[in-house]
């Protein structure tokens, strides 16, 4: 038994940790989807830009400046993307907005490639959370423990925000019925901006945690975690924040169990297989609501 635990504990810890990181990205997807019915394909790239931002700022500034500045920059980028690429298409068919999102993703990746010259960059070590600790038999980084805790704290805060503030109420209204909320005088653009700001903020935090673990930053480094976080959002029932978080943890842990079994090559494929299974048997995810189409 102890042997089993000591052999598998590192994987479990890694699973919980990466699950928390996926959760932080997944919230951005799920909130945007809830409000705009848009898969924000650029979200994974915003996550990567946050990492590069940290790399470059940390080279010239002390951590206590670069860290908040990275967050501010990421939020600004998220808002800018929304304003430039999604807002003009508000009344366009959904396919057009999705294509625009794909275009933004393409642009951001090429831009990062241009700025960095395509070389992998070493992510800076953030003191304390990058330090090594050992739990029972497993040696790991502090970030492994910090991630789930921080994730849960942020999620609780976010849920409180959505439940008890005016803007939160507006968000819930808009996600229930976009057109009616607009008619009721809710400032749709404001709500959408706040949604993007929150999503980008969480992506920036997620990026700091994620890249403290996987330290090589490349222009496409965020594509896969981004997709997986999206899968987590779908898995949990898109539009539902607790759903996204639970989905993310399940995917993070499952993926690492697959790795523990020696099927590393299939860890990504597994995530998508899970997605397809859930879409077939419960297309609205674990916590999603069924929608009836009016004829």
């Amino acid at each position: 038994m102890t042997e089993f635990i000591s052999a598998n504990l590192p994987y479990l810890l890694a699973g919980i940790s990466v699950g928390g990181q996926y959760a932080l990205i997944a919230i951005g997807y799920t909130m945007v989807y809830g409000i705009l019915r848009l898969i924000n394909f650029a979200h994974g790239d915003i996550f990567t830009v946050a990492a590069y931002c940290m790399v470059y700022m940390n080279a010239t500034m002390p951590l206590y400046i670069s860290l908040p500045l990275t967050i501010v920059f990421t939020v600004a980028l998220g808002l800018a993307v929304e304003r430039v690429a999604y807002k003009p298409l508000r009344d366009a068919p959904r396919m057009s907005i999705m294509i625009s999102a794909i275009g933004v993703s393409y642009l951001l990746q090429n831009l990062m490639w241009y700025v960095t010259g395509g070389l992998a960059q070493q992510y800076p070590t953030i003191p304390w959370i990058s330090s090594t600790i050992s739990i029972y038999t497993a040696t790991t980084k502090m970030v492994t423990l910090v991630t789930p805790v921080l994730t849960l704290v942020l999620v609780v805060l976010l849920v409180q925000l959505i439940k008890h503030t005016k803007i939160g109420m507006a968000m819930r209204a808009v996600s229930r019925d976009f057109e009616t909320s607009r008619l009721m005088g809710i400032k749709i653009n404001g709500v959408i901006s706040v949604t993007f700001a929150i999503g980008s903020f969480l992506a920036a935090v997620g990026s700091m945690l994620y890249f403290s673990n996987y330290t090589a930053v490349t222009p496409t480094a965020g594509a896969m975690p981004g997709l997986k976080a999206f899968v987590a959002a779908v898995f949990g029932g898109i539009g539902s924040i607790p759903g996204a978080v639970i989905g993310a943890f399940i995917i993070g842990i499952a993926e690492n169990i697959i790795k523990a079994l020696g099927w590393t090559a299939f860890s990504d494929a597994f995530t998508f297989a899970l997605l397809i299974v859930i879409l077939i048997f419960k297309p609205t995810g674990l916590f999603g609501e069924a929608v009836h189409e009016k004829v």
């Binding site: 294509i99 625009s100 393409y106 010259g117 496409t220 397809i276 077939i280």
Partner: protein
């Protein structure tokens, strides 16, 4: 008018015959040509001419007009003989060097002549409609052939043409699904991968298999199929896979469908890299040494036939049903269109052609590796479809060539650091090309949403109507 057309056709045929004769006869006369071009011969002639010229000068100096006249005549005769000779040599050499292109040109002239005659004798008007497209298609293929022979198979222009033709097929196949049937699928890269691998696996040279599959004891397949058979298999394999996954995914609505197909593409990529399938797929290693094409006509022919088939399909009763589903699923179903069957049909057909396109891409690249078939590849093709116009075949084709030309060729200079005098042009360095390129694409997506063609087609009929309309309008103005 009829007579005039037939005379013109006859002239074209005669011209074609002359060209053919020249192209065929010069081949045997190379030794003679070389003899005549021999520097020693040329030098002797030059010396003779010089002598004649000197004689004219002397005669003039001696104030002897008669002799000067005679010497001048001799000089002129010699000069024109030399001109004729060099003209002949040049003409023969030209035909010797470009013989195949000239034969192609002759072929085109014959086709054009046949078209003219058909046009002249046509009563029903049905042939008339076919003549111009037939001529244009011949022009296209003959043009490609001639350009390839003149510019060289490895020139940038040929690279663009080859890759453009392949991308055109890939874009049109994706348009069939996304633009014509309204199914937002992002599985293109997965089907291309299946096509590329199926093709490569069946067409690696038997004697090279041991080397290619060095980590897997030479692999399990020990035969090589002809290229066209392998290409057909590539399409069929992709179609079969689409058929299998169609059942679950086609029930999903728009963006769920997109993400599910994207997921399947990723799963396919993982499976093909799986070590356990190594004897078949070579694991995560390259597949190489398979049959490739040596002329751009091959991808042009395969892609051309495939695109023509898709176009015919779209304009058939089935294509109309696809468009009905795109416009309104509920109404389409109420009109008796079996939604699932038609979606499945569009999905399988589109995947078949994506598989064929993947096979062509493998041939173009000469090697394949599963790792390269990422979702970014799907996005690229989707963007081409959008630029060309969702629901326009000709738009997709035009956009493919523009896209490939811009990314591979026209914007290349953006990647190079450039000095204007002592001034270093800012921003220009590796990677800038793709940034500019993606900004242009974003501009199209945002401000020019219909793309180049919208959902219309490039049509000769419309072009002609517009021309005649303009002419009429001009007449009225005047």
């Amino acid at each position: 008018m009829k007579v005039f057309k037939i005379i013109l056709a006859a002239l074209l045929v005669i011209l074609a015959l002359v060209i053919t004769a020249s192209a065929l006869t010069t081949r045997g006369t190379l030794p003679t040509l070389l003899e005549r071009m021999d520097p020693e011969n040329l030098a002797a002639q030059d010396a003779a001419m010089q002598k004649a010229k000197d004689r004219v000068t002397t005669a003039l100096a001696e104030n002897n007009p008669e002799r000067a006249q005679r010497s001048l005549d001799r000089y002129i005769n010699g000069f024109s003989a030399q001109l004729t000779l060099s003209g002949r040599v040049g003409y023969d050499l030209f035909f010797f060097r470009n013989g195949p292109s000239m034969l192609a040109l002759a072929l085109f002239l014959v086709v054009a002549a046949a078209g003219l005659i058909a046009h002249a004798l046509d009563r029903s008007g049905r042939v008339r409609k076919l003549v111009l497209p037939a001529i244009l298609i011949t022009v296209l293929y003959v043009g490609v052939y001639i350009v390839e022979n003149i510019a060289g198979a490895n020139s940038m222009l040929m690279t663009v043409l080859k890759k453009g033709a392949i991308y055109a097929l890939l874009a049109v196949s994706m348009n069939l699904l996304n633009g014509f049937t309204g199914l937002f699928s992002l599985g293109q890269a997965g089907f291309m991968l299946i096509g590329a691998y199926t093709y490569a696996i069946f067409s690696i040279e038997t004697q090279s298999r041991a080397q290619v599959y060095q980590y897997y004891a030479g692999g399990i397949i020990q035969f090589q199929l002809p290229a066209l058979v392998s290409i057909a298999l590539a399409g069929l394999a992709a179609a079969l896979f689409a058929f299998l996954i169609g059942w679950p995914v086609l029930r999903l609505k728009s963006d769920y469908l997109a993400i599910a197909t994207l997921g399947f593409a990723e799963i396919i990529r993982a499976i093909f890299q799986y070590d356990g399938l190594g004897p078949l797929t070579n694991g995560s290693n390259l597949l190489r040494k398979f049959t490739v094409f040596d002329t751009a006509l091959f991808p042009f022919a395969v892609a051309g036939v495939c695109i023509a088939l898709i176009a015919l399909l779209i304009h058939s009763t089935y294509g109309r049903s696809f468009k009905a589903i795109r416009d309104d699923e509920v109404a389409a179903e109420a009109m008796g269109i079996n939604l699932y069957a038609h979606k499945q049909m569009a999905f399988v057909i589109s995947s078949f052609f994506a598989g064929v396109g993947g096979a062509l891409l493998a041939m173009y690249q000469t090697t394949v590796q599963a790792a390269a078939f990422t979702s970014a590849m799907t996005y690229e093709i989707l963007l081409i479809v959008v630029i060309g116009g969702m629901g326009s075949i000709s738009g997709s084709v035009i956009a493919s060539f523009l896209f490939v030309a811009a990314s591979e060729w026209w914007l290349r200079f953006l990647d190079n650091e450039t000095m204007l005098g002592s001034f270093r042009v800012p921003l220009l360095r590796s990677g800038f090309r793709m940034v500019v390129f993606s900004v242009v694409i974003m501009a199209v997506v945002l401000f020019y949403r219909k793309g180049i063609m919208g959902d219309r087609e490039l049509s000769l009929g419309r072009f002609r109507r517009r021309l005649s309309h303009r002419r009429k309008g001009g007449a009225q103005d005047g």
